[in-house]
């Protein structure tokens, strides 16, 4: 007796639905490359989905870059500079690094 995997069946049904509205690409179109907007079918599902895919490709880290306000951008930038500075001070003040610098001087 064969028991089908229901998860696969659900996926098949969804794929059928997506193919019917021409949202899922055929195998030939799956090659990596620039995402082109389907211009012929304005306000079709295929056109809409190709736009979203295009956005996903253009801005992979969209959420982090958009949701943050310019102020928080600035704050993050400053904190990184401070961290780098403190780290460099720490390295230079350690015994081993002073020896290394001393040897460099020679």
């Amino acid at each position: 007796m064969h028991i089908n995997c229901l998860d696969h069946i659900v996926n098949l049904a969804v794929q059928k639905f997506l193919r019917s509205i021409k949202v899922v690409k055929s195998k030939d179109d799956e090659e990596d490359g620039e995402v082109e907007v389907v211009e012929d079918e304005t306000e079709s599902f295929a056109g809409t989905l190709s736009k979203i895919r295009g956005l996903a490709k253009v801005c992979p880290k969209f959420q982090s870059s958009v949701v943050l306000s310019p102020l928080s951008y600035f704050a993050r930038y400053i904190s990184r500079i401070m961290l780098t500075y403190r780290f460099s001070v720490l390295v230079r003040s350690s015994g081993r690094s002073s020896l290394r610098f001393a040897s460099t001087r020679k």
């Binding site: 007796m1 659900v10 079709s44 599902f45 736009k51 992979p60």
Partner: protein
């Protein structure tokens, strides 16, 4: 933003949900772009109001499928009894959608015609596989042996009235053929006789009481454990069937064996595939010469630790990864709530019409 992958389940849903969630930031980002060349490039991806409506509609259509898929992928308890219920809920959702798309408000839209055809295609695909569940009896038996529901599913409107008696009769016959007569387990009657003997020692003689009980059971048509189980009250909601059967196995010893055999059948291959993926993560390029027994044992140890709630942290670097995963989960929760609201709004708007 997320990108959909055809081989990854629910990836289209996740991409659409994320896009819905980030609708305002996306529009703002495209609008506020200072670099003209970049803005020109981004402008072609700007979605109109109708297109956003399409995205929201697609998300609400895909949500029930995503929920069923995620529910079935869990391996914390057997899910074979969920199969019929899942089909039932998916078909109900599809019926709701088809009713909604047939309304004048949606019928005039050009894109809803495409949607109606696609939903019908999806229904046909599901029906094709649903017809295949008619032959394997494990689905119907699992539904009946789930103590909270029993025959409740077959009382739903989508089932014809004769299905309830048919499935129940077939299950009873299988129980009698395979468990009632063949298995040697401590019989209920023996226990009752022993109990009666103890009671007879006491001053009260309850012969009439036992006779009346036997007569009542006969009148109710109770001849075996199956009949007793069906006639009994249903278990409280959200109770794990394994726990219920563990407690009640002494009352239904043979039926409990049937339950164990039925619920051992997995509803999906997702759990097994996940286990195989674990082996892929153990045998990495830098550990390519592991013995097969080592791989097996490592997988078993990992599973045991997960069961005990002690998840392995391979390296200290993974801490960041765990934190990120937590954040992603939080985001997903927010998004799912958002889509739930959309779905409710859609249903309410239909009811209002």
């Amino acid at each position: 933003m997320r990108y959909d992958v055809p081989t990854r389940w629910n990836s289209a849903y996740f991409m659409l949900t994320r896009a819905c969630y980030l609708r305002k930031p996306i529009d703002q980002y495209i609008h506020d772009q200072e670099d003209e060349a970049k803005q020109l490039k981004l402008w072609q991806y700007k979605l109109s109001k109708t297109e956003w409506e399409q995205v929201e509609t697609l998300t609400t259509i895909l949500l029930p499928f995503k929920l069923v898929s995620v529910k079935l992928q869990k391996t914390s308890r057997p899910r074979i009894d969920h199969v019929f219920w899942s089909y039932e809920s998916l078909f109900n959702n599809i019926d709701d959608l088809q009713t909604m798309l047939a309304r004048p408000r949606y019928r005039n839209n050009a894109w809803t015609k495409t949607l109606a055809v696609a939903v019908e295609q999806m229904r046909l695909k599901l029906s094709k596989y649903y017809q295949k569940t008619e032959h394997p009896f494990v689905y119907s038996d699992a539904v009946i042996l789930e103590p909270s529901g029993k025959l409740l599913l077959f009382e739903q409107d989508s089932f014809e009235p004769h299905f309830k008696s048919k499935y129940s009769y077939d299950c009873r016959e299988r129980y009698i053929d395979n468990y009632e007569s063949t298995l040697q387990v401590p019989r209920l009657e023996t226990t009752l006789k022993r109990k009666r003997a103890i009671d007879e020692d006491s001053e009260d003689n309850d012969d009439d009481y036992y006779r009346a009980l036997a007569k009542a059971e006969k009148q109710r048509g109770i001849q075996n454990e199956y009949d007793l189980y069906i006639a009994g009250p249903t278990a409280p909601k959200k109770r794990d069937p394994l726990g219920w059967w563990k407690i009640n196995a002494p009352s239904y010893p043979r039926l409990a064996m049937m339950f164990r055999d039925t619920f051992a059948v997995p509803a999906t291959g997702a759990g097994v595939e996940r286990e195989f993926s674990k082996s892929g993560r153990i045998v990495t390029p830098i550990r390519a010469r592991l013995n097969h027994t080592t791989v097996t044992e490592s997988m078993l140890v990992k599973s045991m630790l997960v069961r005990q709630g002690k998840i392995l942290k391979d390296q200290e670097e993974d801490v960041d990864e765990f934190t990120i995963n937590d954040e992603v989960e939080e985001e997903e929760t927010v998004e799912v709530n958002y889509v739930h609201d959309l779905w409710k709004a859609l249903i309410n708007s239909n009811e209002g019409m």
